[in-house]
Subunit: 118 residues, 2 copies
């Protein structure tokens, strides 16, 4: 008999899953960082992320837009240009990213130490 059913922690699991959906995957974070760094146009972003293909970038941009993390803007030029920019909502991710980065570093150190001991 299980001591505690996990159903009660849906209150934790669901939001965490929501958050992870937004930032996990191979490219999402790199795209966010690329735009945060000042790259606004499709090709600009594409070239700032080595290895990404236009198809994948396109999909990531759409995903991020659906999550209201970036805004797509059609510039009235000829030829038409597209500008992508982070929303205010996207900036609230900063703290999360920093925390993940710090824990990730600590984790890697921990692993290394354990490895040296054995």
């Amino acid at each position: 008999m299980p001591k505690i059913q996990c159903s009660e922690c849906a209150d934790t699991l669901l939001p965490v899953r929501d958050a992870l959906d937004v930032i996990s995957g191979k490219w999402k974070l790199q795209v966010i960082i690329a735009i945060a760094a000042g790259n606004q146009r499709f090709t600009e972003i594409e070239r700032s992320i080595p290895g990404i293909t236009p198809k994948v970038l396109n999909k990531e941009l759409k995903d991020l837009e659906q999550h209201y993390l970036i805004k797509r803007q059609v510039l009235d030029t000829y030829p038409v240009m597209i500008s992508y920019q982070l929303t205010r909502h996207a900036k609230t991710l900063d703290a999360v990213i920093h925390m993940l980065r710090d824990w990730g570093k600590q984790h890697r150190n921990h692993i290394k130490k354990q490895y040296q001991q054995t």
Copy 2:
């Protein structure tokens, strides 16, 4: 020409990726929570997580052990029993999980508001 190359932020990307590797995926967090909740034995954990199969649980447990998040202990009984427990290192994940949960909640609210406006 890209304004800023993403290579410089490997210092962020790599640790974040390390952290995400540990907690992303459909089951990792549920397993951690199940063990934190007091389930120690394989079958106990299995029954506390609806829908998980032994094969998948086994893989997750091995992954978590490799990351030094849980410890596998063979109990000297007959028949032999196995006990899984969180390490001290695993507890350092708490802050990360709470942050993800909070941001996830806030994110869901944000989405809902935007949806109502349109």
